[in-house]
Amino acid sequence: MNRRYLLRKLATLLVTLYATVTFNFLLFHVLPGSPVQLMARSGHMDAAARNQLVKFFGLNHSVFVQYLIYLRNMLHGQLGFSYVYRTPVTSVLAPAIGNTVLLLGAATVVTVVVGVALGVYSASRARTLTDATITVATLGAWSMPDFFTGMILIFGAAAWIHFLPISGISTPGLATGLLGHWWDVARHLILPALTLALVNVAQFSLITRNAVVETMVEDFVLTARAKGVGRRVVIVRHALRNALLPIVTAASLYVGMILGGAIQVETVFSWPGMGLLIYNSVEQRDYPVLEGCFLLFAIAVIATNFFADLLYHALDPRVRRT
């Protein structure tokens, strides 16, 4: 990999991270009505808590100094204190992150595999009834809000399929060993992951279908056909391989979307991840936790975009020169 390219991308990454942290600061600490200011000025906090707040954020200094203190805290991994739990935000976030990653990971695997396969199939049958049907079905799935899909699945599970748990990550009070625990979690994972996957499969399928269809009208695809390599090779080795490029580009938008979906799905299924944390912290006005979650989500998107860029670079030899 070209070192200059990597360095340039890293530089962009750092700048974006910095901009995001600054944006966060402005949003939560500076704008009129921002919670920290309100909290500090209201009479609802006891002296000890208020002092802690003032000390931590440097509220008796100017905005600019507050900003520097904020940056320093950030670099030390200090994200503040939860109003509700009275513990550092980081300790509230830590367990939630793992659960969300598990959920997203499972959903993503299904989404990508099924979505791309469906998209390729749809593209290979382009302009036929099959293609139109799949496109309408996927548009329909895309039009369903994640939480609504979840509610329908819960309804179905509660009414008919009693095997699948509809809430939480594990059965409370269940006494089994490690393997049993994992199996329990897996059972709980099925419905939420399925819900997330259903909506996003539509997204991937549409992206793939459009990308492959666009690639199929390129000259080199005709060349491949003329060589007599056979339909499957034409579609996979020539069309799809080149279509991967716009797919990877479009897929970097996917992360932002699936995070939004995760919030809804975790809320509906009471899955104890970052999404549920956001929901609860909004309800309980626990702004530090909300701020921490948002920051983490933003960083996740930025990091994913960074890796997607690298992946694109690896896939497209034309870009490698720069």
């Binding site: 309408v136 895309w142 819960i154 309804f155 269809v213 479009a250 809320t267 909004v282």
Partner: protein, 300 residues
């Protein structure tokens, strides 16, 4: 919130498609026509519904006076846990969803198209600065950002529309900018510029009409995204507490445990309402996109 993907390389849209062409091919395209019909049905329902079925909004106990009842002749869609008539809630709730969706979209389109126009036309440093800003906003995850903004700034309909609009414009800006960038190289535009025509005149009289079809296609897709965003916000409890929307109905249904209780009549109608409205606009937008980019029709 989910945004329908735009995979087509920028600048490859057919410039020659006029507005009239766009709307007529929409009707001729089967999917576009289906979208228009679905949308028409939904709009008629929420527009005329409360007129045709004037239920007393302040009556809590409905004619049957019962709670969480399945649909019956008295209450067509059954009742909620508070005894409200679900059908009436359904008819009224759609309005807010549509209102917020439309307002947010208008904000997003005006902002996005405006920025895209300026950025693409002037190019140079203005373009670079605007694009950096656009890229930054794009990086922020949409629904989390909307949630945070709503939590910080309030939950009424205006603010919600503003918040959703402010997070949806980057997609439009990029598409319009690409198109404008390629348009400004065309001989006609260059000729007019060399004649000394005023910049804003060129932008509005010559370039804007050419990108108008593109704006409409994008508008439909942004609108469906906005409706989903509003629904999600309302579901998470951040909708306007005074006005009932479909998302709020789903929030209430969830809180009341409708799914586990098997009260399908409570959450299916508002959910399907959201799906129908979103799907209608998505089909229309998708169809328009295919008219503007014939490559998607796959002629080989």
């Amino acid at each position: 919130m989910s945004q329908l993907p735009d995979v087509t390389p920028p600048g490859e849209f057919e410039v020659g498609v006029s507005q009239r062409d766009l709307w007529s091919s929409l009707w001729h395209d089967k999917m576009g026509r289906a979208g228009v019909i679905v949308l028409a049905v939904v709009l008629v329902l929420i527009g005329l519904g409360p007129v045709l079925f004037p239920f007393n909004p302040y009556a809590f106990g409905s004619s049957s006076g019962s709670l969480m009842q399945a649909p019956s002749r008295a209450d067509w869609f059954g009742t909620t846990e508070l005894g409200q008539n679900v059908f009436r809630e359904f008819l009224v709730g759609g309005r807010i969803s549509l209102y917020v969706g439309v307002t947010a979209t208008l904000i997003a389109i005006v902002l996005g198209a405006g920025l895209g126009l300026v950025s693409g036309y002037y190019a140079g440093w203005r373009d670079t600065v605007l694009m950096r800003i656009t890229d930054f906003v794009l990086v922020l995850p949409t629904l989390p950002l909307i949630i945070v903004l709503a939590a910080l700034f309030g939950q009424n309909v205006i603010i919600t529309s503003l918040v959703i609009g402010l997070t949806s414009w980057p997609q439009t800006a990029r598409i319009i900018r690409s198109q404008v960038l390629s348009l400004r190289e065309r001989p006609l535009i260059q000729r007019i510029r060399s004649l000394g025509a005023n910049d804003s005149r060129i932008m509005f009289r010559h370039i804007l009409p050419n990108v108008a079809p593109l704006i409409f296609a994008n508008l439909a897709l942004v609108l469906s995204g906005a409706i989903l965003a509003q629904a999600a916000l309302a579901f998470l409890g951040l909708g306007d507490p005074v006005q009932v929307s479909w998302g709020t109905m789903l929030h209430n249904a969830f809180d009341a445990g409708a799914m586990s209780l098997g009260a399908w009549w409570y959450f299916i109608p508002p959910g399907l309402g959201i799906v129908a409205m979103t799907l209608g606009f998505a089909l229309i937008g998708n169809s328009m996109e295919r008219v503007l980019n014939p490559r998607l029709k796959a002629q080989r």
